[in-house]
């Protein structure tokens, strides 16, 4: 690991002031499970590392107006154990549980889950976010079984966040602090498909910090489902999260979001409109799954993900209405 200067600020203001104009000036350290791994591989080489875990205002979960406010440094384990989260957002609990390792759940944070870098093995081996060599995509002709079925331009990696699909379906927003104060972004638009290696896959500047996530307590029925090879430590092949505003047993409005199938969480608007006005039956849920994968363009080795994404949508919907 390249040597760096360590900073341990106690306030968000001090932390932001310690960051710089470029990603090589300074990086944020929270759980460290991805950041330190990236630094060991020289993918991230910051001159300064800013530990934000001792900043009190970034901790804790509490009700704030009509939202549940989840601090950026809340660990996945704290999220799973929280009573309010368990009552209102089973989709978040199930998504966080999917991160199978107790060690990672104890270390990894909510902000870190959103900001973790893609797992694309070309990226992790130094070929850049778009995995190109001489202007050609290494992904297209290479090992792409875990890559996107919803590519966006040259971006063929998949977003690695476990929580993002559930948060996007719930209509959550991310609060970001920077040198000019704070701004707020929908989780769904926090993720962006980069068109060059110099860009990031999230709407965050090198001198900004994710401070919290606000999840509206709308009473929507919600669930998420991950299709995975094993229950232990790994990322899923495909995931779906749903949030349903119900009137009796009829869906008034729905949000369906796919995970691990595109460079951002994929908001499936077709599936959502197919659900409006219907009662959820197995058949309706399966149809929503079909709608959700309209427009998918698998690569040479990942057509299997289309079926997994359909199944994830169906199972998430059945899970959401199973609950009283």
């Amino acid at each position: 690991m390249q040597a760096f200067e360590y900073a341990n600020p106690m306030t968000v203001k001090d932390a932001v002031a310690l960051l710089g104009a470029s990603w090589t000036d300074a990086n944020v350290l929270a759980g460290g499970t991805d950041q330190l791994s990236l630094m060991k591989d020289y993918i991230h080489t910051p001159k300064r590392l800013v530990n934000i875990k001792n900043i009190k205002e970034l901790a804790g979960i509490r009700k704030a107006g009509g939202n549940l406010r989840i601090g950026a440094t809340v660990t996945l384990d704290e999220l799973i154990d929280n009573r309010e989260v368990r009552m209102a957002f089973p989709s978040l609990v199930s998504a966080a549980r999917g991160v199978g390792s107790p060690q990672i759940k104890n270390m990894g944070t909510v902000g870190g889950d959103l900001c973790q870098r893609p797992r694309c093995w070309y990226f992790r081996n130094g070929f850049g976010l778009l995995a190109q060599k001489n202007g050609r995509s290494l992904v297209d002709d290479g090992q792409n079984e875990f890559h996107a079925i919803f590519s966006q331009g040259p971006a063929k990696f998949v977003s690695a966040s476990s929580l993002a699909p559930a948060l996007a379906a719930l209509g959550a927003t991310v609060t970001i602090a920077g040198p000019n104060g704070t701004r707020s972004v929908d989780v769904a638009s926090f993720f962006v498909a980069p068109s060059s290696d110099q860009q990031r896959e999230v709407d965050l500047k090198p001198n900004e910090i994710v401070t919290q996530v606000l999840v509206p307590m709308s009473g929507a029925k919600n669930a998420s489902y991950e299709v995975r090879l094993k229950d232990g430590l790994d990322w899923p092949y495909a995931a779906a999260a749903v949030a349903l505003r119900m009137k009796g047993s009829t869906v008034e409005s729905a949000r369906v979001v796919l995970g691990h199938v595109g460079p951002t969480p994929v908001v499936a608007e077709g599936a959502a409109s197919a659900l409006a006005g219907k009662s959820i039956t197995e058949e309706v849920a399966a149809q929503a799954g079909e709608s959700a994968v309209q427009g998918a363009h698998p690569l040479s080795g990942n057509a299997y993900k289309v079926q997994l994404a359909k199944t994830a949508v169906k199972r998430a919907l059945m899970e959401a209405v199973k609950r009283a």
């Binding site: 760096f4 360590y6 060690q103």
Partner: protein, 161 residues
């Protein structure tokens, strides 16, 4: 670049301090600076769990924690399991069940399993397997490790008043 950092922490209940570079992992600090070589380095990337230690009551992979983050923390390593010459029930059960061969993964398994049994004294086999999913063993095939944890759970239950 800044020079070394003086870190004050507590390891296995005893106050401890060391002088480390910010880039040194807690694993390196424990092994190379504190001479606590029970904690092992496996993958050095968070995948294998060999370096699992307790930090403020929760298990972490010490290769993905910086030594400087241990400031003010309570660290628990495999060296803290035995009481004098009396082995922890998990350590005895691992020996009796031949739950180790090369032994590199063993300290991580012991620390992780101890945390599970403190939290859930009677875990199911499936629960034990899932809990230990971040601890890899390339020798035993896991069955003996699972049996050892189950035996230790039974013995710890019987030993409780």
């Amino acid at each position: 670049m800044q020079s070394k950092v003086h870190v004050r922490t507590a390891i296995n209940g005893e106050p401890a301090e060391f002088l480390c570079e910010p880039r040194q992992s807690l694993l390196e600090c424990l092994r190379d600076l504190c001479n606590l070589t029970g904690t092992k380095e496996g993958c050095n990337d968070g995948n294998c769990g060999a370096c699992t230690v307790e930090m403020d009551g929760r298990i972490v992979t010490s290769c993905l924690v910086l030594g400087v983050e241990a400031e003010g923390a309570q660290i628990g390593t495999v060296e803290g399991l035995a009481r004098g010459t009396e082995l922890h029930p998990l350590q005895k059960a691992f020996l009796e069940n031949a739950a180790l061969q090369c032994g590199i993964c063993t300290p991580g398994f012991l620390v992780a399993a101890k945390a599970l049994l403190e939290q859930e004294p009677e875990p199911s086999e499936a629960r034990i397997r899932l809990w230990l999913a971040n601890n890899l063993c390339r020798c035993t095939g896991y069955d003996k490790i699972i049996r050892a944890v189950q035996q230790a759970a039974r013995e710890m239950k019987e030993a409780r008043p």
